[in-house]
Subunit: 511 residues, 2 copies
Amino acid sequence: MPRSGGRRGQRRERSERQGFHQLPWRNLVNPYAPIEVLSADQVEAIHRASLRILAELGIAFLSPEALDILAAAGADVDHKSQVVRFDAQLIEEQIAKAPARFVMHARNPAHNITFGGNNINFSTVASAPNASDMQGGRRPGCYRDYCDFLRLGQALNVVHLFGGYPVEPVDLPPPTRHLDCTDAFIRLGDKVFFAYSLGRERIIDGIEMTRIARGVSSEQMLREPALLTVVNSSSPLRIDGPMLEGVIEMARHNQVMALTPFTLAGAMAPATLAGALAQQNAEALAGLAFSQIVNPGTPVIYGGFTSNVDMKSGAPAFGTPEYTKAALAGGQLARRYNIPYRSSNANACNVVDAQAAYESEMSLWGAIMGHAGLVLHAAGWMEGGLCASFEKFVVDAELLQMMAEFLTPMEVNEETLGFEAMREVGHGGHFFGSQHTLDRYETAFYAPILSDWRNYEAWEEAGAHTVTERANKLYREILTDFEPPPLEKARSDELVEFIARRKEEGGVRAT
Amino acid sequence: MPRSGGRRGQRRERSERQGFHQLPWRNLVNPYAPIEVLSADQVEAIHRASLRILAELGIAFLSPEALDILAAAGADVDHKSQVVRFDAQLIEEQIAKAPARFVMHARNPAHNITFGGNNINFSTVASAPNASDMQGGRRPGCYRDYCDFLRLGQALNVVHLFGGYPVEPVDLPPPTRHLDCTDAFIRLGDKVFFAYSLGRERIIDGIEMTRIARGVSSEQMLREPALLTVVNSSSPLRIDGPMLEGVIEMARHNQVMALTPFTLAGAMAPATLAGALAQQNAEALAGLAFSQIVNPGTPVIYGGFTSNVDMKSGAPAFGTPEYTKAALAGGQLARRYNIPYRSSNANACNVVDAQAAYESEMSLWGAIMGHAGLVLHAAGWMEGGLCASFEKFVVDAELLQMMAEFLTPMEVNEETLGFEAMREVGHGGHFFGSQHTLDRYETAFYAPILSDWRNYEAWEEAGAHTVTERANKLYREILTDFEPPPLEKARSDELVEFIARRKEEGGVRAT
C-alpha cells in the first residue's frame, strides 16, 4: 500500500540545531471561506459612514509635509487645524491603486512571505515594554531579552517574521537603538523584519541595513519590498507627525506599511462595535490613501485593532467576543478594498493560564477566519501588549502550529477512506496494528510541542507540570541549542561599517 | 438619545439567589454560516463510502430483538454473526423520516430547548468516573459531587441541559443509582436531563420520572420529547445490546437519542480523518435508521466524536487540529441528512491550565462553527472524559458565555455608527465621558465572570491569582448561595412514592 504523500504539515522535522520536533517552515494559505459577521449591507453601511467621517470630520495629519502632499492631491486641507477632509472619489481612487498581493523578501529567500490571496503570516510579539519568564519574573525590556526573543522567533518555524521589537530594549540609547536592534534582526535571524516609523531617519537606516543584509542593489530593494512598518493612527481621527514621516519614506522606497488604527471602543472610539469599526475604517482609509498618493502602488496592509474597554474600570480588554467580531468584520472591510489584512493574537491576561489561552484563541480564530494575511503579536503577547512572555511565546507556537495543521485540507480519496482497513479490522476490532495505520505511523496526526496527553497518573508521576512550566523548559532548551543562521562575511563587514559610521554621526537626532 | 434596546445578551442579571453577574438564560442561535472543511464532492465521497460500508461490511447489532426488527424492515440480517447489511435505499428512506427540528420540554417550560435550525444548546460534562477541585483533589465520583455539579449546571444560565451524570456516583448501588440520580436532576434543576441507555428498565424509569416531574400525561410525553439519551456505538461497526434496548424504548416513547460513534482515528477507526469520518457516518446512519424503523419520526441527533490518538503512546487526544476538522466535517454530514448535530467541548488535559483552555477552544470552535445543536460536555470535561472538574466547569461557563455573546449579531445603524459622538469628541479626544458612551455604560460590552483585566500591578496586589484559582472561589460561592428551583408538592410526593416502590422492587435487575 503506497504511502500517502501529501501531508507536508505532518512531517516531523528534527533539525540538527533544535532538539525538538516541530512542523517545518511553510507558507500558510487558508483554504476555508472566511466567517462573515456582517451582512453585505452592513459592510456598505460602515463603508459609507467612514466616507462621511472623512468628508465631514476629516483626519488630522500632524505633518506639514503630509499636508502639502495631500493638498497637492486635491484633498481639502485646513493648515491651521491640520485637519484634512477627503471626498469619496479621492479615497476610492487612491485605495484602488494599492496592490492586492505582494511578496516580502527575506535575506533568506526560503523565508519570503506573501500577502494577499488567503496567505497567512505569523509574527512575533512586538513593542512590549516588559519581558517575563518564570525564572526572572517580570522586568523592563532589555537588549538581552530582545535577542533571546529573536532567537525564539528564528528557531520556531511557525513564526514567519519579526513584526517589531518583541520587547523594547530600554538599556540601549534611543538615538542608536534602531541600529543595534536591526543588526540583531539580521544576525540572529534570516526572516522578514521591521522598522519603526518614528521619523524619517530610522526608516532610511532600516532600509539601507535591509539592503546590505540581502546583498542587493537599491534598485532591487525598490522592486522587492523587504521591510515592514506599522503605522498606528493616534485615534480618534489623527495621525502623528513622526508616523507620517515614516509613511512617506516607506512609500517612496516601496516598502510595506500596515496602517492600523487602535480603536478601543469606549476610549478612543465610540462604545459600539459599529462605531469603532467605522472609525477604524475611516482612519485606515485615510492613511492608506495617503500612502498611495505618495507612491501609487506601494504595498500596504489594512490593519484592524478594534477591541473594547472594561466599562467598569476603563481597562482595555482583548480576545473578548467583541474583539473577535471586530477582527472578522475588519477582514470583511479589507476584502472590500482588496487589500491584505492585519489582525493580532491578543489577550489582556497577566499570567500564562487558561485565560491567556482562551483570550488568545478568541483572537486567533478572529484573525484566521477573518483571513488576516498578517497576524501580528502571534507569539508571546501578554497583558494587552505591556509584556512579552517567553513561556507564552512557546505556548503560542503550539497554538499557531495547531492552526497551521487545521488549515491543511483534509484528503478524501480511496486510500484515506480506508475501506479495506475496516474490512480487515472487522466488527469490534482495533486499528492499532493494521497495515493502514502502520503506513501512517509517523505522519498521521499533528504531534504537539507542548501538549501533554498522558493519563493523569503518568502525568502526575512525571511531576504534574502545567503547560506553562513545560513551555519554560522548552524555551530555555531552544535558546541553549540556538545557532544563528549564516551571514555572508562581506555583508557582515558592510553592516559593521555602516553601524559604526551612523553611531559616529550620533544616530538619530533628538526628536 | 434613546437607549439601544436589542442587546439582550448584554444585560447583566444579578439574580436574588446568585451573587455574581452572568448573562441571562437564552436560547442560542448561530447567525453565521458554518465553516466547511469539506467540499461538496468530499461530503458525497464520505457519504458513498459509508453506504458501501453499510452494504458490504454491515454493522453488528448485538440484540436479538433489534435483529428481528431490522429483518422485518428488509435489512440483510445474519443472525449468527449478528451483522446487518443495509442497502442504500433502506438507509436513505429511513433517514429521511427523522425530524429536522424539534423541541425538548423541560419541567420549567422557560428552559425548553430547540434542536435544528442553527439552535445551539450547551450541556454539562457527562459520565466522568472522577471529580476534582483544588481543595479535594482528584477522587472517584460520588453522589455528593454529582449533586454539586447539578447545582452548578442549574445556577449557570449558559448551561442549557444536563447531558448525562456529570460524574458517576459510584457510592450509589447500581440497581437503583438511576433512580437517585434522576431524582436529583429533578429536585436540583429544572432543565432538560438525561437517562442512560443501559437496558430497557432504566429508560422506562427515566421516562416515567420525567413525566411525573413535568406533571403531564403519558400521551403528552409521547407528543413532547423531554428526555435525552446518548447511544455510543462500540466502534468499529458494532452497537451493543443494552444500548439497542435503550434505543428501542426511547424511540417507542418518542424521546431524544443522540447516536454518537466514538471513532478515535488510529484506535477504533482508521488512522485517517476521511476513514474515521466514513466509519462515523456509517455507524451513525445505521443507528439513526434503526431508530426510525422502530418509530418513524422519532427525534434524533447525529453525533460526531471523531478524534485521534497520539501515535507514539496510543493515548486519545482531543481539541487537536484533526478533532476540529472532524467536528466541522461532522456538521456538514449531519446537515446533508438534515438532522440536528451533536459535538463536544473536549480536551485531554490533566490540569486546568492553558492547554485545557486551548484544546477546549479548538473543540468549541469546531462545535459552534460546525453548527452543532447539542454541545455535550460543554462545561467541566477534563482528561479526555476521565474527570469532571469544578474549576473547569466555571472556566467553561466563561468560554460559553463568550461564545453566546460572539453569536449575538452586530447592530449597524445610525445610532451604533456613532457619527455624532465622533463629531463631539473630535480629533485626539476620548469617548469615556461622551453621552454616546454613558448611554451604553451598563450594556455596551460582555462582562466576564472570571477574566481579570486589571493591570499587572493591581492583579499582583490582589494576590496574583490564576483564572483557575478564581474559578475555585466562584464555584464554591455559587454552591453556597444555591437554592433549588421549586417543585410542586404533588409531583414531589409522586416521585417519592415511585422511587420507594422501585427500590422495593430492587431497582434494575442484574445485567
